[in-house]
Amino acid sequence: MHISRVKIADWAVLKGGGILMTIGLGSCVGVALYDVQQKIGGLAHILLSKSREFPQRAAAFNPAKFADTAIPLLVQEMERVGGKKSRLRAKIAGGSQLFMNQKIGNSVGEKNVLTTRQVLGELGIPIAGEDVGGNYGRTLRFFVESGLVVISTVGRGEKEV
């Protein structure tokens, strides 16, 4: 089966089948969008929540890095291949607090999840499943044929979302 690997601050869209995969979500959030009728899947691996908080945008701005720009981009790219925003459902994973005994990184994961929920809400995309928070990393596999999302971890087994 075709596997499309989504790196950090990256996105991909598949239609009809295949697997969208992203490895090692820590405080990052993986956003999987699915159009069940057309069997179109989109996956983004976002690093930070809001692009607005970075006023000095780099010349080569990468919208896939931030929740507030990555999700609209993903919707747009899915519509380009026949998806429809009103049919989309989301599954999200990540936003954890990996480092024990310290606050650094914590608020980043929480903020990423909050902003992801907020952006999805503004776009009218319901969240069909999620596996967020905690203190462990996640690898996400999104089976585009079925819409199934499988989360695997180190030492905590697998779980379907």
């Binding site: 990996l98 024990m100 650094i104």
Partner: protein, 201 residues
């Protein structure tokens, strides 16, 4: 084409800074370990695309232990000491007295302390060379897949460029029972300050 954040010459300077910093760090570790000899490779300073960084530690899903320290003060930078889980266990076995090898909390705290000593000796060396005041945060530890750990550090650093400067040093014990890496991620502003202090334009 945008201008590169640093050129080859500046990367060489950073490599030399890392070399001196790491020399101090490895000496400190060797003192803790006694018999076990520790070797370090020549540090590498690279300008890496953001998306490739989680792979730099030898496999995105590799289970590792990571000790993280953020330095604040005149400049801001993030330091991460990462080692594969089996190395981490070998290291704690050397540090903990007989009979305590199975105590999970002690293992964590031993690793945390090693990370703390390594990274703070690195920072001290950097501070002595540049005259910059560097205040390290208390160390934090995580055990998980390497990509999750390093991406969390990148997020904590609020990386805004799509390429980032990274100093990486590998250290290993005589029979490779222990291997580990130290990564240093300076903020963009930090780089400019370091270069101007050293008179490099």
């Amino acid at each position: 084409m945008g201008k590169k954040i640093v050129d080859a010459y500046k990367l060489d300077v950073l490599k030399e800074l890392a070399n001196i910093g790491m020399g101090h760090a490895v000496t400190a570790l060797a003192q803790m370990l006694g018999e076990e000899k520790i070797f370090m490779d020549v540090p590498v300073a690279t300008l890496a695309p953001l998306q490739d960084v989680p792979e730099l530690l030898g496999g995105a899903e590799l289970p590792v232990a990571g000790v993280f320290i953020a330095a604040d003060g005149d400049i801001q930078l993030k330091i991460l000491f990462v080692l594969p889980l089996d190395s981490a266990l070998n290291l704690t076995a050397l540090l903990l007295p007989g009979g305590w090898e199975d105590a999970e909390e002690l293992k964590l705290s031993a690793l945390l302390e090693v990370g703390n000593i390594l990274t703070s000796s690195y920072l001290t060396a950097l501070s002595l060379m540049t005259g910059l005041i560097l205040l390290p945060s208390p160390p934090a530890i995580a055990m998980d897949m390497s990509a999750a750990i390093i991406s969390t550090v990148m997020a904590a650093a609020h990386i805004q460029d799509d390429e980032l400067v990274l100093m990486q040093t590998t250290l290993s014990s005589q029979e490779k029972r222990i291997t580990g890496q130290i990564l240093m991620l300076p903020d963009r502003g930090a780089l400019n300050k370091i270069f101007s202090l050293l008179g490099i334009r």
